[in-house]
């Protein structure tokens, strides 16, 4: 087997080196290959991305934090203190073999007891760890890249989502979006200047901060997907690709694609054989410049146009459906709202709702909002009902998703969708379609373009409306749990097309 290891101690002189030597000797004697990165004063150069990719497991023999630990996120791991590696390296190597075979992570526990493989699918095994066993699979590698991007994105979603929800909650959800607190030309406006209440003004400030946090979401997702693929050189092209995805209206799915492409581009650049001065210039000049240019050109020149064309086609098609079967319309709008959560398809459905609002049809807007609320709500419910199916970052995102869902901030579902698009997005679409159809079927109406639960006062048939949302939430959660459990039981046989 091939292992990688990181050893590290606070002074980085003695123990990290001894642990490294001990692991190297023990692994070689047991007939395995190992590459060790010593992090510390003397240190060794960082391990190659390719070496890490091809490893079967990672051993952390550390008394200090591991630098850039994300690099190893896809590997089964054994985590111990340096001294354990020094004293019992052969046993540690055996544990690494067991971890690699089992494909599960183990950590911490000292002494001989820890050498016993954890039984089956115990509670210590989260879903992310349980799938890392087939890390060889291309699909699992993609999933790891997506997870890395998602884990960096979540703080932005949480901050943006809660600030936005707070703005809607403390004041009139419609009024607050129409207050401009700051312009470049005229600077800050105070409540007196704008003739609005202080509380509405505070809401507007929260909203503008939350909006900026939200606008970072797709770029950060793309940037750190590329980072997971190509290390640091991936970040700049990925971030720029993500910003452009937003720019051309391609939403978070565009961001996913931008991140994956940017990572692939930088990895391709890395394979160009160069030497001497040029080699030194690659990371400082070539990767960022050519990588960013290439991803930018792809987004603007190649991907932008079809996205715009598809948007227009969807829009005219949807407009043509006005007056058609209400239930069918509800299903369709619902599914569209959940498809890309703030992306182009979602925007078409939302714009259709606004258009209908202007035309005096208040039922469509109600369906749009309900369908936009169930994705985060359904996922939040799923994380509570089946904790084990979700990773730790997802649990945190799930807590914030309650508030976001209730506030019609569909983006709260994006972390889940980005991490596992092929299972999560269809589930969200089913739940939202059900909710959209029910809302229209119940004849609920809404005269505000946003606000979620906070505009309940202007909803016609509020109780039935809430019922539609609750049903959609439960359907969403059930579908997510169903699809995710499917993978769990049949995980080895079932490759994820990606």
């Amino acid at each position: 087997m091939k292992f990688v290891a990181v050893t590290s101690c606070p002074t980085g002189i003695a123990h990290s080196e001894m642990a490294a030597e001990a692991l190297e000797v023990a692994a070689r004697e047991a007939g395995h290959e190992i590459d060790v990165e010593v992090q510390g004063a003397a240190g060794s150069p960082p391990l190659d991305a390719a070496t890490i990719r091809d490893a079967d497991a990672v051993i952390f023999a550390v008394d200090a934090t591991v630098r850039d630990i994300e690099r190893f996120a896809h590997l089964p791991k054994v985590e111990i203190r340096t001294r354990e590696a020094i004293d019992r390296a052969p046993a540690i190597v055996e544990r690494a073999v067991a971890a690699a075979e089992r494909g599960a992570s183990e950590s911490g526990a000292q002494g001989a007891a820890a050498a016993t493989p954890a039984a089956g699918t115990g509670d210590d095994e989260d879903v992310f760890a349980s799938v890392t066993g087939d890390a060889k699979g291309r699909a699992e590698e993609v999933r790891r890249w997506l997870m890395t991007g998602v884990s960096y994105m979540i703080p932005f979603v949480v901050a943006g989502g809660i600030l936005t929800a707070a703005a809607f909650a403390i004041t009139d959800a419609v009024e607050v979006t129409e207050i401009t607190v700051f312009t470049e030309e005229e600077g800050l406006f105070l409540p007196g200047d704008l003739d609005v209440s202080t509380i509405a003004w505070i809401g507007a400030v929260l909203l503008s901060i939350g909006g900026v946090a939200f606008s970072m979401m797709v770029p950060v997702l793309a940037g750190f997907i590329a980072y997971a693929m190509a290390d640091r050189p991936g970040i700049a092209p990925g971030l720029v690709g993500g910003l452009l995805a937003d720019e051309i209206g391609a939403g978070f799915i565009g961001g996913l694609i931008a991140g994956l492409l940017a990572g692939a581009i930088v990895n391709a650049l890395k394979r160009i054989p160069v030497s001497g001065t040029l080699k030194r210039m690659m990371p400082v000049l070539i990767y960022p410049l050519i990588g960013t240019l290439a991803i930018g050109a792809l987004m603007v020149l190649v991907i932008g146009e079809p996205v715009a064309t598809a948007n227009q086609a969807l829009e005219s098609w949807l407009t043509g459906l006005t007056g058609a079967n209400q239930i069918l319309l509800g299903l369709l709008i619902g599914a569209m709202m959940a498809f890309d959560m703030g992306g182009p398809v979602n925007k078409v459905a939302y714009a259709f709702g606004i258009l209908s609002l202007d035309a005096g049809n208040f039922a469509v807007m109600a369906a749009v909002m309900a369908a936009g609320m169930t994705p985060p709500l359904g996922l939040a419910l799923a994380t509570v009902v089946r904790r084990r199916l979700f990773t730790e970052p997802e649990h945190r995102a799930g807590q914030a998703a309650w508030l976001m869902g209730a506030s019609f901030i569909t983006e709260g579902a994006i972390p889940f969708a980005a991490a596992d698009p092929l299972r999560v997005i269809p589930s969200l679409m089913v739940g939202s379609a059900v909710t959209g159809a029910l809302s229209l079927g119940f004849g609920a109406t809404l005269q505000a373009p946003h606000g979620g639960i906070w505009v309940i006062g202007v909803i016609g048939s509020p109780l039935l409306y809430l019922l539609a949302i609750v049903i959609g939430t439960v359907v969403t959660a059930a579908c997510v749990i169903g699809l995710k459990s499917l993978r769990r039981s049949g995980q080895r046989a079932e490759p994820v097309a990606a």
Binding site: P10, T11, G12, I13, A14, H15, E17, M18, A20, E21, A22, V25, V38, A41, A42, D63, R83, E84, I86, D87, R88, A89, Q110
Partner: protein, 154 residues
């Protein structure tokens, strides 16, 4: 260029530590540094090393080695002192094995130069049983230094 001979000399070796407790043993080896002009403020240096021992639960290993070390402003020149103990000293090895081979490292503040590599190299060799055996059997400070020099080819 730092070589192993710059770091350890027979003057920094004792094959029979008098101390019967850990802290005194560290002080005893630190005296060798002080006498050699490598450590200017012994009390401060020993305090640094001791604090680190306390913090990490000890640098003792099951193979009977301990590598107490300290990076301190009290160190004028980096060095490596070696002491062998008949008594065995408690450096907090996981299984309680007393340490009989004690390497005390003195590193200068902010120094991550070649001597760090030298010390790292020694640390790496200590994993090997043959090295430890030779150190246990060496009959004089000069032969200890010779063994270390041989083992740590630079």
């Amino acid at each position: 260029m730092t070589t192993i001979s710059d770091l350890i000399t027979p003057a920094l070796v004792t094959t029979d530590l008098a101390a019967t407790d850990t802290r005194t043993a560290i002080d005893e080896l630190a005296q060798l540094f002080e006498a050699d002009g490598r450590v200017t403020d012994r009390t401060a240096y020993v305090e640094t090393v001791w604090a680190r021992e306390q913090e990490t639960g000890g640098t003792g290993m099951e193979s009977g080695i301990a590598i107490p070390h300290g990076k301190s402003g009290a160190v004028a020149r980096p060095g490596l002192a070696f002491g062998r103990s008949r008594h065995g000293l408690d450096f907090g090895a996981e299984d309680g094995t007393p340490a009989d081979l004690i390497f005390l490292i003195a590193a200068t503040e902010g120094d991550d130069d070649l001597h760090v590599r030298v010390l790292s190299r020694i640390a790496r060799r200590l994993i090997h049983e043959s090295f430890r055996m030779a150190l246990r059997e060496a009959d004089s400070p000069a032969s200890v230094v010779e063994i270390i020099e041989q083992e740590v080819e630079l």
